[in-house]
């Protein structure tokens, strides 16, 4: 078992910086999700831990071992690739046992652990098949089994579910989470899917442009995003942001003004963003005047779009809610659920 320390790692491809001075501490047995839009550097960061990418500067430690200059095979890691990278010229059994054979484990141990891995991932009926005879979901499981049987303390996964169809992905997501609970390896999991990140991670590191913007538990990130980017990247619908300034206890902007009972220190007079989640806004009984634009019943709840001044806000309301377009309403929000951010930098006020 081992934690992972990424210490001020920098990586540049040609002239484009992929990682800028990235530091991240991953605890032993933790499931860490690297989340961000494509091109944010999350896969590059994973590959520097795997040893498939050399860092320009900075150190990578696994446990108390500095692995920065070691080849992938010497790092004691196992990795699941986005394309699965299942060897097409080997059977499922040979694929799962490949790493163990490379480590020159005794034959009966290889056989036993391949059987265990196949059992764990539900691959027993397919052991003698070739990858071409498997479905996408089965191939994905072969790739996971091949990594898991290595018994490496660190498991790296690069968007392992992105090539599965939606239904299969739900199933595989639950399977992977169950697997992690059983084997408890230190895991780094790369994804651009915020639902995957929320549902699987012990913690999430949100990345953008080669920088880690925020590292925290999923609900912390969801409720208390560090920047406007995090708030709008995570959550569906994204967090609402309202531009304005606070003066004399009143928040006012383009076409609206309402009192705010609680406000952060030093907020008065400077351009602000008020961030609030759709499900934290309540219909009626509040101080925020709004006009209904459209109401979409979504089965479990209704999603209402309402204009506050010139800004559309998403409001999650009970499914029984009946509102008509152009109806004037009032929205309410608990002051503690509001996130105040600086308009210029997009960063949250302390």
């Amino acid at each position: 078992m081992a934690g992972i320390t990424i210490d001020r790692v920098t990586k540049t491809f040609g002239k484009a910086p992929a990682l800028r001075d990235v530091s991240l501490e991953i605890r032993e047995g933790e499931f860490m999700v690297l989340l961000g839009p494509s091109g944010c550097g999350k896969t590059t960061l994973l590959r520097t831990v795997a040893g498939l990418e050399r860092v320009d500067s900075g150190r990578v430690r696994i446990g108390d071992r500095d692995v920065t200059d070691l080849a992938p095979r010497d790092r004691n890691i196992a990795m699941v690739f986005q394309s699965y990278a299942v060897f097409p010229h080997m059977t499922v059994e040979q694929n799962i046992g490949f790493g163990l054979r490379m480590k020159r484990r005794p034959k009966d141990e290889v056989r036993r652990r391949v059987a265990d891995g196949a059992e764990l991932l539900g691959l027993v009926p397919y052991l003698s098949r070739y990858p071409a005879q498997l479905s996408g979901g089965q191939r994905q499981r072969v790739a996971v089994a091949r990594a898991v049987v290595m018994d490496a303390p660190v498991l790296l996964m690069d968007e392992p579910l992105s090539n599965l169809d939606a239904l299969l992905r739900l199933q595989a997501r639950a399977d992977l989470k169950r697997l992690h609970n059983e084997v408890k390896r230190t895991t780094i999991y790369v994804t651009h899917d915020q639902v995957e990140a929320m549902s699987m991670g012990d913690r999430i590191a949100v990345m953008r442009d080669g920088i880690i913007v925020q590292v925290d538990a999923p609900m912390e990130i969801y409720d208390r995003p560090a920047t406007q980017f995090v708030g709008s990247f995570i959550g569906s619908p994204p967090m609402n942001f309202l531009q304005g300034t606070i003066r004399d206890g009143t928040f006012s902007g383009d076409g609206f003004a309402f009192p705010v009972p609680q406000r952060p220190e030093g907020a008065d007079g400077r351009p602000l963003l008020m961030g609030v989640r759709a499900e934290h806004l309540t219909l009626g009984g509040g101080d925020i005047p709004a006009r209904v634009l459209v109401s979409e019943p979504l089965g479990s709840h209704a999603l209402i779009t309402a204009m506050v001044g010139t800004t559309p806000l998403k409001v999650q309301a009970p499914i029984q809610t009946v509102v008509r377009p152009d109806e004037q309403i009032h929205l309410g929000v608990q002051p503690s659920l509001v996130r105040w951010l600086d308009q210029a930098t997009g960063e949250a006020l302390p």
Partner: protein, 274 residues
Amino acid sequence: MDRPSPSPRYLLDRSLVYGLAVLLALWVVVPFYLIGVAAFSPRDAVFEYPKALVPTDLTAETMAFFVNSRGVIPSVINSLAVAAITITFALLLGAPAGYALARFRFPGRDGFQLAVLATKMFPISILSIPLAVTFLRLGLYDNLIGVALVHTAMALPFVILVTSGVFVAVSHELEEAAQTLGCTRLGAFRRVALPLALPGLAAAAIFTFVISWNEVFAATILTLRNRTLPAQVLSTLADSPLYYKFAGGFFMVVPAIIFIFFMRKYLLNLWGGK
């Protein structure tokens, strides 16, 4: 379910296309066929007129005459030896170059790729005299290694481009996966990339064989006594009877036909299949 019958316009188009295809095929197939018929007919049949399009009495006698002619067997052995050396050299030099083109983005990569093709622009007839002089100086003249070196130079562009296509088709992630599973870079290549590339490499090898087997000009200029088969046939051509020429022609064309039959898939890939 009855399908609506195709329009006359469509039928006309199709028959035009197929008619032209048949015409082109006949253009190539008929001479082959006549050579084959002549090679397996009695020697006198070559001089008969009008010729029977279907051979009346098949015999191996003419082929036996050709194969047993003076110098033919040794030159076949020479040809095979030259081809074997050429394949070895061309793959040892060409496959790593192809791998590098497929895997690495290095400065001058595009220029290198162009330069590889540019070597095909020099006609061997212009190069052969300076080559002969150089080989005389180096003691490589009339030597099978010398011929094989020239054939290697001729085959290399093909080998490099074919193998780079082959290695591009083998996903880099497979090699990376092998590395994370305990292989060195070289081990990952040997255990994963190489087995998957093997059919393509075999195609490149056979292609090289045919280039070497059929090459006549350099072989003729650069050898005197150690002739390869085409050089041997060429040098005796003027003084040979007609049926000898047919038998020799057939003997030389067969390996190429067999090659094309087995390697169609790879050749189509190479010539614009993707």
